[in-house]
Each structure stands twice: as structure tokens, then as C-alpha cells.
Symmetry: C2
Subunit: 391 residues, 2 copies
């Protein structure tokens, strides 16, 4: 017998957080498939490259853990120089805090009492918990609960980049909210503005993406100036992502980049295109789904054991890392049917092959463990601690 | 420090299997959203209706646990009269066995040593573990490992219904495999044929679905007759599903129905259409995703906290159970953006509403727990024990 509060607390405390060490290295060829693997050499190189870019341009990096859901990887990003993390949900943030990551921005607003109380509970444990607000009602509620708990909470105003997802309208509406927070919410410490143009990240073609992104961020820049003209300093401008990382310095709005996918990469990001090149490959693919050929009912096809319960279906088809001339179709929940058009190698029953994922975030969210490897050998297993933490 | 074998065994033994009892009932309005809920009155009615149909037509029901991933629900189906369960993967079957369900058919072939050894380990614990084979190599391997372990394993021959997913070609090819098993695989006990026409389940329109299904199953019928003409009895013909449950008696091939979705239902199945009616509603929706309105950047839209990490994206959009005149679009990993065309009720920030899921199986696979309720009250929480068990 338990209470709902105790149940939620138990889920949290039962979450595995630490690497599981293997007594001897295991070849990736011996993993139970489908398995989510990480090429550690590529991961390291991606983390380093992004941090160098950030450092070179006087920005800071607040990496988004909604992508990898792992305090282990977040700590690597912090070790490379990130100032903190951002989380999409309260329960994801709770796991990061439990994993000893103390500087956390929750990038989506909360409005109900149960979630606000969970934010307050985190803010009692760390002075560096922050959350976005996008409505006076939300600010009122946060201030009220912070006051009841005798704590001060860092907040950012979330600006709607025109997506209609979250955020307040840039300009006057945002200013009114900012003034309200400064004048009427003594428990809320205004940190700056968030503007995440998710509607720009995957525009194909560098120039097209840059042009639309610049147009949208113009409203953020104007809002910042409006705040400053009223004597409200805006120390941090947080947002942006993998798809715009190299545009931010020229646009000059974002001071703190919220990138996530750069660590793993996927087909969706690869295909947006880079500066003067077809593929966006500034960061390389480090995440793969290892899958086994299990059946071949027809000679022109071969069936693998990874279906829509193992690969995100919201964008593209997966592609093999090392085989050309084939198409991987989803064959239901547990199968992928590979059309053998003009395969660059033979594929036999029992063969294990690595897939590049269509979209890394929702693919990761399907697995409980990562199998990180270096030179084909797995030495430890990493729990995907915040998987399924969508609350 | 652990070995890979011990790690896999630990995952299994750490899986929660039993209902978590709450010390007092909780209203579904108090659940942390997004939450996966089950209307128990509807679930019970669906289970009863299907079992009555099965009993009335002299068939047996082997319910598919790939849909609900829960030994708790499987046991309810067995209590209603199902003869056993089927599982899509080895790791799913392991969880069902651990949950004290002993009659299990694995509906997809295995070809690699690691998976075969796991099947053998299960077969040592229960005489009623069965698996499909669709290739002579698979039969050879199973027979070899069964012999090494001194066990006998039940097998079904999987027939390809023309999908090219798994299965051997019906007719002569299947007969050759059957004769091989009978003559050269003394450790394999041939039980019958499996033919699951997944390519028919979601054909919209009853007549169209029936016509294609009948045509496909004709090959199964011919294969059965071919086996019998060679003196090979075929006691069980297993397959079919929710979309064809009421066609099976007339077609006369399937003796054992492998239905899953009838217990929960979803938009995809509702929209296939029933006999002389637009919607297939022989079974009612018992599964919902409860979600909260968290932001409203524009007056014609409102944003909820359930995105593509909480709802399957392979088919349709989700729909609200109790609101008409709106469209739920995916707004990324964690958000749904609802277009308020002509809403049948007002929706305010903080409101909690239930969504009908687009496709139940992959939606269930995103959650760790069910919140089953009766008359709006949750008395216990059910772990989704085999969630993520895709191996």
C-alpha cells in the first residue's frame, strides 16, 4: 500500500543512474538486438567540436537532456564546458538533479499545482533550478508557491517564435509579463528571455533556414531592446539548437545555446543541409540501432528485428550505416522489411547491422540502456535514466 | 562489475510485475500527466465480448501481449477463458513467464544463438513454450540446442501471407519444412501452422477487408490440406486478429485467434469500419492518454503536454474523448498543439482531457505504468512490465 506521492517518489529513487561496469569487454556483435549503441569516439568529438564553437564565439552552452535522457552524458557535456542543462519536463529535471546536475532550466511552462510543487521541491535542493513562464497566471502561481516555501526561483520569459506552441507574444505582451514579474512577484528572479524557434531547426537548406531564423529572432532582439529601454536588464538570451548553432554569432541574439542533437545526430538533422553542402555533417552520427536479420520470406527482401517500437516514425526511414542500395521500411511494431534493390553487400540471416536513426530524441526514449563502445567493444552499459519521464 | 548474461538476467528479475495498491483511491484528475489510463468497465466488457464470440464459434483465444505488455492484463484474459498468450519477442515472453503465464507462443522466428538459448531456458521452465519457425536453418538450430538441453520444444510453421515480413511460402515450401521437422528434428513437436495476415487487419471497409483476407487465407487452407494429404495432422491454425475476428468462423481456417487490440482499441482500428457501419466499434475504447493544457500563445490554439514521446505517430492524429471540433497536432516531442476550430466546450489552461490513442501498441510501449480506473477513481497502478522488451 502506498500513496500517489510516495509512488512518484519511489519511481524517482528506483531510477538507475550510474554506469554498469562489465567484468570483461563485450563485442557489439554479442549484444541482444535491437540495441541502442553509441560510438564513443564520435560522441567525444561532437562534444568537443560544439564546445569549441561556443567558446570561440563567447557564448555558453546549456545542453538539452530531452535528447539523451542521461545524467552520464550530461556530465560529459558539463565536463567539456557546458554551464548547465535544460530539460523539457519536470520529471526529466528531477532525474538530472538526482544525478547530481544542479544547474537546470525547465524549458516548458507548468501551470498545475502538482507540477509546481515538484519544481519547488527541486528549487529547495539547488539554487540553480530555473523555469520558463509565459503567462501572468503562471507567474502568479509560481510566486505564491515559492513564497509559501520561502524560496526564490529563477525564471525566464518564454517568447513564442510564431509556432503557437509555448511562449508569450514578443514585444509589448512580453514586457507586460516582465514588468509584472519584477513588480509583483518578489520570489521570482528574472534571468532573461527564452526563444526557441523549433519551427526553424529542420528547414532544409542553410540559406533558407538562416533567412527564416533571422527574421524570427528579430522579434526577440526587439523585445530585448524594449526591456532594456524600460530599464530591465536581460542578462541571458537562451534558445537555439543544433540546426542554428553556427548562425547564432552573426544574428547576435542567443547568448546561451540549447543544443541537444549535435551529440548523437540523426537522418533528420543530416538532411537539413550544411553551409554550401548537401548534408549537415558538422557533427557525425554517434548513435545507432543494432538490428539482426531474422527472416527472408522473399529473395528480394530481408526482415530485421527493429520496428516502430525501436525507431521513431515521425520523420524519415532509418538507413543502414554500412549498406547502400537498400530501403528499410517499417514492417510493424517489431520488424523492419529491407528492400534489396542493389545492395552494396550481401545480407544473410543472422547478420547484425547498425542503423542510423531517423530522429534521435524519440528513438532514445524507446530504450532503457545505451551500449557505448570504442573500437567495437562495450565496457559499460549506461541506463537511460530519464527515459519515459514525460511528466 | 557484472557479465552481459548477468545483466540481462538482472533486468528481468528487477522488472515490476504486480499491481501497486494505493492506500486511498485517487481521482484521475489528480494523476501526473501525461498519464496512460484504462477504463476498467470498458476493458472488462471487451474481454468478455471477445471470449463469448470465441466460445460461440468453437475457437480458442491466444491473446497477443505485444499490445498491452502486461502479465496483469494477460491473466485477466486467461481468467476469461483464453488458452494462452502470444508474444512478439523473446524478452516479452520472458516477462510473461516470470509473471506466471506458462502457455506462450513466440510469434516471430529467432535465428541467433543468444535468442535460441533464451528460448531453451524458458522451455526448461514450462512445457507450454512454443515458437514459430520459417526456415530449415532455424529448425536445425532449435533442434540442436533443444537436444543439447534434453528438452522437447513445441513449434509452429509460420506461413508468409504475402507480406514478405516473416514466414515461409505456403504450399510446397511449407510442406518441405514440415516434413523436415517431422523427419529430422526429433526435439521439435510440430503443433500446426501460423498465418498472420497483418497486411489485412487495417484494410478500411468490412467487405474489402473480408475479400482480401479470404483470398490470402485460401493459401493457408490449401497448405493445411496439403499437409493432411501427406499424413501430417495440423491440429492448430493460429493467427488472425482484432480486424478479422468476426470473419474467421466463415472462412474456417483459424482455430486459434491471436487478437490483441480488442482489449484497448484505438483510432486506427475504429476507422477500419465495421459490418454495415462506418466505425468498427464492436469493442470500445478503454485506453486513454490523459493530458493537461499548459500554454496558449495564440487564441485559436491551445497546447497540451503530450507529444510524440507519449503518443504513437505511425498512423493518425490522436483525438479527444470528449471534445469535438478541434484537431490535435503533434507539436514536437513533448507537446500537442490543439487547433480550436469549433470546439464543443471551452478549454482553459490547466484543464485535463483524455485522448483516444492513434495506435495502441506503440503508445503503450512509451509508458512505464497504467492507471486503471473505475468511475473516475484509481485504486491501483499497474506496471507495464514488458515495455521496451523488444529484444
Amino acid at each position: 500500500m502506498t500513496s500517489m506521492r510516495q509512488f512518484i517518489s519511489d519511481i524517482k529513487s528506483n531510477t538507475p543512474l550510474h554506469p554498469i561496469l562489465l567484468d570483461e569487454p563485450v563485442s557489439i556483435d554479442a549484444l541482444p538486438t535491437p540495441a541502442l549503441t553509441i560510438d564513443l569516439n564520435v560522441l567525444d568529438s561532437n562534444l568537443k567540436k560544439m564546445q569549441n564553437h561556443i567558446d570561440d564565439h563567447g557564448m555558453t552552452l546549456r545542453c538539452h537532456t530531452k535528447m539523451h535522457k542521461s545524467p552520464i552524458i550530461a556530465k560529459k557535456q558539463l565536463a567539456h564546458g557546458a554551464v548547465g542543462v535544460c530539460c523539457a519536463t519536470v520529471s526529466e529535471a528531477e532525474i538530472m538533479l538526482l544525478g547530481e546536475i544542479e544547474n537546470i532550466l525547465i524549458t516548458s511552462p507548468v501551470v498545475t499545482e502538482d507540477k509546481i510543487l515538484r519544481v519547488m521541491s527541486m528549487a529547495k535542493q539547488s539554487d540553480d533550478i530555473a523555469i520558463v513562464v509565459d503567462h501572468i497566471k503562471g507567474a502568479q502561481a509560481l510566486n505564491k508557491y515559492a513564497d509559501a516555501d520561502d524560496i526564490n526561483l529563477k525564471v525566464y520569459i518564454d517568447l513564442d517564435p510564431g509556432m503557437g506552441r509555448t511562449g508569450i507574444r514578443p514585444g509589448e505582451d512580453a514586457l507586460v509579463l516582465g514588468q509584472y514579474i519584477l513588480e509583483s512577484c518578489p520570489r521570482l528572479n528574472f534571468q532573461g528571455l527564452q526563444m526557441y524557434a523549433g519551427n526553424c531547426m529542420h528547414i532544409n537548406g542553410f540559406e533558407k533556414r538562416q533567412s527564416k531564423y533571422q527574421y524570427i529572432l528579430q522579434k526577440g532582439l526587439e523585445t530585448k531592446k524594449l526591456f532594456e529601454s524600460k530599464g530591465i536588464p536581460v542578462p541571458v538570451l537562451t534558445g537555439g539548437g543544433t540546426g542554428t548553432y553556427d548562425m547564432e554569432p552573426d544574428i547576435g541574439f542567443i547568448t546561451e545555446l540549447q543544443a541537444g542533437s549535435y551529440a548523437f545526430m540523426d537522418i533528420e538533422y543530416r538532411d537539413i543541409g550544411g553551409q554550401e553542402k548537401e548534408h549537415f555533417d558538422d557533427f557525425k552520427t554517434s548513435l545507432f540501432v543494432l538490428t539482426t536479420a531474422i527472416s527472408q520470406p522473399q529473395s528480394t527482401l530481408i526482415t530485421f528485428d527493429a520496428g516502430i517500437k525501436c525507431l521513431a516514425t515521425d520523420t524519415a526511414y532509418p538507413e543502414f550505416k554500412d549498406v547502400e542500395g537498400v530501403v528499410y521500411h517499417f514492417g510493424g511494431d517489431e520488424h523492419g522489411i529491407v528492400q534489396l534493390n542493389n545492395p552494396s553487400r550481401t545480407i544473410n540471416l543472422g547478420d547484425r547491422l547498425s542503423l542510423i536513426t531517423p530522429h534521435c530524441d524519440p528513438t532514445v526514449n524507446l530504450y532503457d540502456y545505451y551500449y557505448p563502445y570504442r573500437n567495437g567493444l562495450v565496457e559499460e552499459i549506461w541506463p537511460i535514466s530519464a527515459r519515459g519521464k514525460s511528466q
